[in-house]
Subunit: 467 residues, 2 copies
């Protein structure tokens, strides 16, 4: 955070205090004078930070009285509904849900591509790729890259993991065409047709589609939008049915951005060992963490059974189509499957990205993005706070979306079509399960800035959803 | 061919005459004076063309007597051995063969990447991609491309097909990560585990690996290195066993570069209809044709059962990782499988390639490459002609390799390891079948220019192979 301005440091510190409930909803913050003295800052700096938090709806300025906590993300009413445990079943995703999935992959309330300025991180990234193209020499273009992927990129990814505090060697990584491709290879490597796979509910719809295509059966494990997969429920599931693999996203998984506590991770791994499960970890949101990225489950994997899958799509660019997998005991098979189904990845592209990472461009991009995502998230939560009726919402410390639970009578799926007619893409709750549950829930993304047209779309939702 | 020099036109015309046996091995060509008169060319132009053909080993200049045909590609002894028909079986590819496959994908006798100048076509291609990156705007990078792929690229591919004389609409195309990926999606879409798939023998090893991973059974159909799959043999196979799909490469398929005659194509399609087969056409070598690219099987597909698979890897760059598939009645399922297993392809990359095609860069590249490949091929055949013992070799009118049949005692597989120690990568015949046949055969590629080190490697082969 060395590149931050002093007002940003104060802003972060105050925000952290609100999140940690040092100051609770309605409480008064220390005075401007106190803040100046304690933090060694000028009055202008302190005021700037307070005004920014006020603009984000987190503080309320009361004349002559000071700044009060107006919204307390952790204090926002949390979602209640839990999935039921049901017997394993084949997956069949309807055409309507497929249509919604396709549109929802953009994480946007608006349906079309939008122009505007590219963020500096993407400009730098594209320059790096361009340089890599110009550096291509001789007959390089005549050769396929090795199936594991470019060595330099794997080294950079290993360094990136090391900075986060866990250790993976370049040999333990295989480059893929994105995280979905990594999940596909992982499932192909450790499951056979008809096997049962345990997933989060609500959880990532892309996994449900994979299970359908690979003819695997699914058992949904109730998952808290705050703390991830319910390990008690998982234990019950494992005792009742023979499960081959379990897919989890401990770090800010979609839809709610839950963060799995360390104790749950440890219990999960102990269960995996006892029941001989393959654990597939979807780590794609780790780098969207507001604080430091949490350790992956894989860092605790002493039994070599956690397959980590990730990509650059959520933290850098969805158009790179570059991901990676660390396949534990299935790694050789995964790498072979990549070779057989796709031969290789683009060498020039991987080298361009590797150089972008080596130059520090990726870290700088993540820092900028983190600040932007926090602002986007807080504005969204402030907006939701103002909705009529009982609205429950997660306040994730990472990820790109919140999970919103609305009163029982709301039917988000039936509002989808009407939304499209009005130029608003909503992501209804039933998408995140095959059980038909979560009809009164939806995911709302804060991946994009709340410009005028997006804010208009957001403000149209209560009426559209008949909240 | 409008951009060719006049000597090149004459050179092509003479070459065509030699290939069509207008002048046979040992015969004298028309005199320089006759050629000048008949073709309306200057003496210098005629001499230039003749000298070039002499340098390629196709003509021999005899002082005071004129130019004689020294080598007659179609007159080179043709390979004889045919595969046996054996019952369908599961595929199991050994580790040794896997290692060979990985190295052989480079189509090179030398093991390492080499420097040198990039061909102008690749320089132009990379510039186009760079421009496309710089044109990326606003939040484009935040969105996934549509699963079918970039519209502009699919339009360019449709135009490219139209120039070749057959018709496909952009809606009938889906962009993939290369031809292997297209073949994978095609097999996943039309087969189920345990199904029997008919393949060419000898044929593309990548297909055998796919069948292994998808747990499909293979039946090998004897295939001529000159005219492709033996349709009589296919008919016998279809009468004896229930076959779900048939994979063929009618245009210059590896290893021998065979060209399937029109009558065989028509019989194949009639058989496919009678036995309700899916026909998967690997069209990846079509654009390496020395003359105009032959119609694909797909152009004759009135019953909507030919899945065409192709990519830019053999005719432009192996490092693009861009291919396409036109999936006939299975197209929707193929496109859905692409979405589920990989979400999308890079938009900026597709747009860069589309622009390269629209600018005429691709056509120009193909023209240049065609000439280079012809020279490479003819030099290779001339070299093989000088080998001791009975050497039989194909003289393909396209593709990147010849199929060489050596005396029975030769064991190409056992020479592979020794070759590696000497820095020579050979591609042994047994790679192209699961039957253990073709021990005395090998594929030799002419994709790369015969520079000094490659020529040295080539000349080491007779001793290495104990010919």
């Amino acid at each position: 955070m060395e590149s931050e301005y002093r007002y940003q440091q104060l802003e972060n510190w105050l925000l952290q205090g609100i999140l940690e409930q040092r100051w609770r909803l309605g409480e008064r913050l220390p005075s401007i004078r106190t803040l100046c003295q304690e933090q060694g800052l000028s009055k202008a700096t302190v005021q700037h930070a307070l005004q920014r938090l006020e603009a984000q709806g987190l503080l309320e300025a009361r004349p002559k009285a000071g700044y009060f906590v107006a919204l307390q993300p952790d204090g926002v009413k949390k979602p209640l509904s839990r999935a039921r445990i049901e017997a394993p079943r084949p997956v069949s995703v309807s055409d309507l849900l497929l249509d919604i999935m396709r549109r929802s992959a953009a994480f946007d309330l608006l349906p079309d591509l939008h122009s505007g300025d590219l963020p500096p991180g993407i400009v730098a990234l594209n320059r790096s790729i361009g340089r890599s193209l110009r550096r291509q020499k001789g007959e390089d273009y005549q050769y396929y890259d090795e199936p594991a992927g470019d060595r330099q990129l794997r080294e950079q990814l290993a360094l990136h993991a090391a900075r986060r505090g866990w250790s993976v060697s370049p040999e333990q990584l295989c480059i893929t065409s994105g995280c979905q491709h990594a999940l596909f290879l992982a499932l192909m490597a450790c499951c056979e047709r008809g096997d049962v796979v345990a997933v989060e509910s609500p959880g990532f719809y892309g996994v449900l589609q994979l299970l359908e295509q690979l003819e695997l059966r699914v058992v949904e494990v109730p998952t808290s939008a705050e703390s991830g997969m319910d390990i008690d429920a998982l234990e019950e599931v494992l005792e009742r049915w023979k499960v081959r693999a379990c897919i989890v996203s401990p770090a800010f998984g979609t839809p709610g951005g839950a963060l799995m506590p360390l104790a749950s991770k440890q219990r999960l791994l102990a269960l995996a060992e006892r029941h001989n499960l393959a654990v597939i970890e979807d780590d794609i949101y780790a780098d969207t963490a507001q604080g430091s990225a949490p350790d992956p489950l894989k860092a605790l994997d002493s039994d070599n059974r956690v397959i980590l899958c990730s990509s650059f799509s959520k933290c850098l660019s969805r158009d790179l189509r570059l991901g990676w997998v660390s396949g534990a005991r299935w790694h050789d098979r995964i790498q072979h499957l990549k070779l057989v189904t796709q031969l290789a990845s683009s060498r020039y592209l991987q080298q361009g990205v590797a150089e972008f990472m080596a130059d520090g461009g990726f870290s700088a991009h993540l820092r900028r993005q983190r600040n932007e995502l926090r602002v986007n998230r807080d504005q969204l939560i402030a907006e939701l706070h103002a909705w009529p009726g009982e609205v429950r919402v997660t306040a994730p410390q990472g990820g790109l979306a919140v999970w919103v639970e609305l009163p029982e009578h709301v039917d988000t799926l039936s509002a989808y079509g009407e939304g499209l007619e009005q130029g608003v893409v909503i992501t209804p709750g039933p998408l995140f399960s095959v059980s038909g549950q979560f009809a009164n829930c939806l995911r709302i993304s804060f991946a994009h800035p709340w410009n005028a047209s997006r804010t208009r779309a957001l403000r149209r939702l209560p009426e559209l959803l008949r909240v």
